[in-house]
Symmetry: C2
Subunit: 314 residues, 2 copies
């Protein structure tokens, strides 16, 4: 397929890097400032060099670029930046032009889920968004396999950076500010660190899961409670440890409600995953509980989720 | 869809029980002896009562029954019984009649994988077999999502009964024969216990994974080494425990080879899952390692995998 990639963060860059290996040609690559396009395929290496050295990608305006030839719009605008209205308009243009779209940008799905699904109904193309939840872990496609009406709850550790911080706080007995600085030095956090640690990223993913699970005639889910990890003290961590417990930032979707917050769990529980990993538990009506977990490997994990969605378009 | 269910073991019975809940009608239900059919839908409760009390299902011969009206053949012949040639012929008949088939019977896929795929090429219908690997855990569809050529290895604990025995041997310090008798009393083992404990079930699943991963122009995988758990002594278990290790029956597919045998692993490793559960690790080229695990809940887990395949047919 000919891909138009929007977004030059970790995910967009990874999609560009891996595209050829997955059988695709990048005909357009854009960030918020500018775009480069070539119907025969752009020079990906040169584009990535430009991004890394802070140069502009090309001479074209991003908003004009989507008129260029491509088959699938890859909407990989970085999650902690980006504007959902701009992204939504771009998706609408793509579908109205008879193209498909694959999305990793979470906010537009979390906030405009029904509008996005309506775009699909009104046009021939599809919008797939498996890459908005769980990175490389196939959460939405697994739920879809069981049938959304046979799922009773979904919960998990959905943000690897936050989990890195919490599991370091447990193992190193260092306080939050210290580990946060370390995580920033290691490049574990998104550019906007509050996006991870205040629970925003987890909340967006849970909202998408809740919308995906909701029956068509239902109003949206009842409400969202979000608490991040920024107020967890090292003394609270110490107390937990003395009882054989640990703290994880858990997002949960159950009974039409979404809750995100730090939770005390047993050190041996499946959810007590360590490091920059994620895990999702899916409670099913008829076949018990499934656990799916993966490792965050830069933008590559989400990029492979995008390729999986593209494969399902055809 | 109208389902023709062949096989009245745990899986076939579960499919019959749950069919209505998943939006399907059972128009035919057969075991190896006889069949009952009704184009409007059979009385499932009566059929299950007949099975439980050892009565015959109906007046029809099983081999004549597949001429009756249905959309999808559900080939759920019990794995530790059944004859792959009979099953293969039934699948061929179904496809030649323009129907689809969904299979949980493992041996026919493990031994005649290319012939099965050829049936699909020669006919309009499809044969889906996600239910042959991992029960409710979506192993093959997850591999398919990443693309088979982006997977470097697959390994795991694939037989819940064997895992129940091994984890009981570890925790209870009882010997193999004792725990085996307990597992039989609890109904954890298949009718033919050697099917689980000698590694046959794990080997069949690994063969199917290996065939699924193989490139079209490759000959079949190089060979299979199979060792079961029947020779593990309680002293070996004791020695492992002293070193913080445990024993699990691991099936692995890597570098075109299949190996099944007891392996020493750390008590804290993801593969050291306890009880009647299964876990599969998928090593990917670009997005690290995925872990998928589930609980075996009688035939229900495999039944939901069958419903997932049916949903993907249309």
């Amino acid at each position: 397929m000919r891909l138009a990639i929007i977004g030059a963060g970790a995910v967009g860059t990874s999609v560009a890097e891996l595209a050829a290996e997955y059988g695709h040609t990048v005909t357009l690559f854009a960030d918020s400032q500018s775009a480069v396009a070539n119907p025969e395929g752009i020079d990906v290496d040169t584009a990535i060099e430009a991004i890394e050295s802070g140069d502009q990608l090309g001479e074209m305006h991003t908003e004009d670029a989507v008129e260029e030839p491509y088959d699938v719009l890859v909407e990989a605008t970085p999650n902690s930046r980006g504007d959902p209205t701009t992204v939504f308009n771009r998706l609408r243009t793509a579908l109205e032009q008879g193209r498909h779209a694959v999305v990793s940008y979470k906010r537009v799905l979390a906030e405009q889920y029904k509008d996005i699904r309506a775009l699909e109904t009104e046009n021939e193309g599809n919008i797939l968004f498996g890459a908005t939840v769980g990175g490389a872990v196939p959460v939405l496609s697994t739920i879809d396999g069981f049938g959304t009406n046979h799922i009773t709850a979904v919960r998990g550790v959905l943000n690897g950076a936050t989990n890195f911080i919490l599991s370091r706080m447990m193992s190193e007995e260092l306080d939050y500010e210290h580990i946060l600085a370390e995580a920033e030095d290691l490049g574990v956090l998104e550019t906007d660190r509050t996006f991870s640690v205040r629970g925003t990223d987890t909340a967006l993913q849970c909202n998408i899961i809740a919308s995906f699970l909701a029956k068509e005639d239902e109003p949206s889910f009842k409400g969202v409670q979000v608490e991040g990890i920024q107020n967890i003290s090292s003394s609270a961590i110490e107390l937990a440890r003395e009882d054989g417990l640990t703290v994880r930032l858990i997002g949960e979707v159950a009974n039409n409600e979404v809750r995100i917050g730090p939770r005390l769990i047993s050190e041996n529980a499946a959810l007590a995953i360590t490091g920059k990993r994620n895990i999702v538990q899916i409670d099913t009506e008829d076949s018990g509980q499934l656990n799916l977990s993966g490792t965050e490997v830069g933008g590559y994990g989400t990029a492979t989720a995008i390729f999986s969605d593209i494969a399902h378009l055809y």
